[in-house]
């Protein structure tokens, strides 16, 4: 199965529009943070540009199949990053404003981890190290049935401490799943400590990914144009992984690189300061 993703046919993707969207998505996530106390703001901010690119620039759509009519699949393996997914699904009309307003409440259907069965959610994640195996099964099923669907997958760097991720990577490579396109959110933070300090053997990363049979490229994960370029210029004969170097809490100065924002919700004062930083500016 050949997947045409060469530079000859780059998907239409407006980088400036993406920048504006991501500012709005960050503000929307902060709005939600004022309704509930427990959520994962910083891990959603670190992968936001990549998730935005996947939904708006990479996943093919067929409007005749309804809205959004995605022809490709998406699995958020780092389930704790799902706020990034929810705000985009709201923007696309897959989830409603009411769905997001009821985030983590008894009347709602959205929790702090994505749940299969909710519109737009293709797999239940939250326990780390599961997404690569599930996505490998999905991509394999598509491949043997001749379905040209691609499966996009976003993983946290912490998930590469799980052996299951590497087990599944070897299988994806063994099975030549060129229809599997993964994105590592390399923000260098676990829940407890920086990976580079607590788990330094994780580095260098790119060589390890390649050694496990993936084609891979390392880029700035907040630079959507660079991520897109990496994806469209891949050779595409193996599974592919973007190693996206990111900043945890990206976009709000006092959240960047401060791991307390893995879990913490901003106070009213912090919220207003953050919203001011995320105000739309003419570029």
């Amino acid at each position: 199965m050949e997947i045409e993703m060469g530079p000859a046919s780059p998907p239409k993707f407006d980088v400036l529009a993406a920048r504006r969207r991501c500012l709005a998505y960050r503000r929307r996530i902060l709005d939600i943070s004022q309704q509930v106390t427990a959520l994962h703001v910083a891990p959603a901010f670190s992968c936001l540009e990549m998730v935005d690119l996947i939904y708006h620039g990479l996943m093919r759509r067929d409007p005749s199949r309804g809205n959004p009519g995605f022809l490709d699949g998406f699995v958020m393996s780092k389930g704790h990053g799902c706020l990034s997914q929810y705000v985009i699904l709201e923007d696309l009309g897959v989830l409603t404003k009411t769905d997001l307003d009821r985030y983590c409440t008894p009347a709602g259907q959205l929790g702090a981890h994505p749940d299969y069965g909710v519109p737009g959610i293709e797999a239940s994640t939250g326990s780390l190290g599961h997404g690569m195996g599930i996505a490998t099964g999905m991509a394999y099923a598509d491949k043997i049935r001749g379905d040209d669907r691609r499966t996009f997958l976003v993983l946290s760097d912490g998930e590469f401490q799980e052996g299951s991720t590497w087990e599944a990577m070897m299988m994806a490579a063994n099975l030549n799943l060129e229809n599997l396109i993964a994105f590592m959110d390399l923000n260098d933070f676990g829940g407890l400590a920086r990976m580079s300090e607590g788990h330094p053997a994780f580095y260098p990363v790119l060589e390890k990914i390649r050694a496990f049979g993936f084609e891979a490229a390392e880029v700035n994960g907040h630079d959507a144009a660079a991520v897109l370029q990496a994806v469209v210029s891949r050779r595409g004969r193996q599974p592919f992984m973007v190693v996206g170097k990111t900043v945890k809490g990206r976009g709000v100065s006092f959240m960047e690189h401060f791991n307390i924002w893995h879990y913490r919700s901003p106070s009213k004062e912090e919220y207003e300061k953050a919203m001011a930083e995320l105000a739309e500016v003419s570029s």
Partner: protein, 306 residues
């Protein structure tokens, strides 16, 4: 049972393109090799990597396939347990997790290969169905049911090889979720499942020689349990004996006792299970069962049979 499973799966997979099997470095017994040769796309070997075996099955099921995960029971269920729980049961996808060598079938391989608590562990997970056929004929019926079902994940607990036939001439067909009487009597009812049915059948013979009429029942579907069927067995026999190759916690025996108490059953009720400890014995399957007190002589003695 292993060969019957493979042959049955092969036949079903010939008719249904959605059926696939994902194994973790286990030799493809019997017709599994034939399936692999004829449908290489639908046979995946993950190697010694059970987490991805289960994860891939979940992903394949989410894309519309009907995968079977297949390896030795300890490795199909215990090793990737949280993947079984989250990927299969939480998402409630129709994947059959086949455990070969349930109980102490692998009698020379030691405790690492004994699935003594598998039924309890599997049945404890919401959405999981647990089926344990007692012979090749039931293995065939159960495999066909698993291949066609859409209700969710199933743990299919099998023996290994060489199990005798107990059910091909049973008056009732195999029916999912129902007790199956292999023969009917009025005095004693023996409830069992899996290959240890050989002990149940031999025990029935001893009861008959002692002048009792005996029902022998295959409780092949452990979850959902046929509670009405259990109540009926308790109410229509003077004595009920449960024999199972599983630890006491979470056992069929425990459930039968619970039902008996709730319904104020009047019958005598005895149960025989694996012991709640690891043993370091080796030998034949019968030797291992004897070490757990599950041999005919030990059970007969405890029931006062010669």
């Amino acid at each position: 049972m292993r060969n019957t499973f493979a042959q049955t799966f092969y036949e079903a997979a010939n008719l249904d393109q959605r059926l696939a099997v994902v194994v973790a470095d286990i030799s493809p017994a019997g017709s599994m090799q034939k399936f692999r040769d004829e449908f290489p796309d639908r046979f995946v070997n993950t190697g010694v990597a059970e987490q991805v075996m289960i994860g891939m099955c979940a992903g394949m099921a989410l894309r519309g396939l009907r995968p079977f995960a297949y390896t030795i029971a300890t490795f199909t269920l215990f090793r990737p347990f949280e993947f079984v729980r989250d990927d299969l049961c939480y998402q409630n996808v129709p994947v059959t997790v086949v455990g070969i060598g349930g109980g102490v079938t692998y009698s020379t391989l030691g405790g690492t290969h004994h699935a003594m608590e598998d039924v309890a562990v599997a049945a404890a997970i919401p959405n999981m169905t647990v089926i344990a056929p007692c012979d090749p004929a039931e293995t065939r019926a159960a495999t066909l049911w698993c291949a066609g079902q859409t209700r969710g994940p199933v743990y299919l607990r099998l023996g290994k090889a060489g199990e005798p036939d107990f059910t091909s001439r049973a008056p009732e067909p195999w029916e999912f979720g129902k007790l199956r009487y292999l023969n009917r009597g009025r005095d004693v009812c023996i409830l069992s499942y899996g290959p240890i049915m050989k002990v149940a059948v031999a025990l029935a013979d001893r009861f008959q020689k002692a002048g009792k009429t005996v029902s022998v029942v295959s409780v092949h579907t452990i979850k959902p349990l046929d509670r009405d069927g259990i109540v009926d067995a308790l109410n229509t026999h003077k004595q009920v004996v449960v024999i199972e190759e599983m630890v006491p916690r979470g056992s069929l025996a425990g459930q039968v006792k619970e039902i008996a108490w709730d319904r104020r059953a009047q019958c005598r009720l005895d149960s025989f299970t694996l012991h709640d400890h690891f043993i370091h014995n080796y030998g034949s399957h019968n030797d291992l069962l004897a070490a757990h007190g599950l041999d005919l002589a030990s059970i007969s003695a405890k029931l006062g049979l010669a």
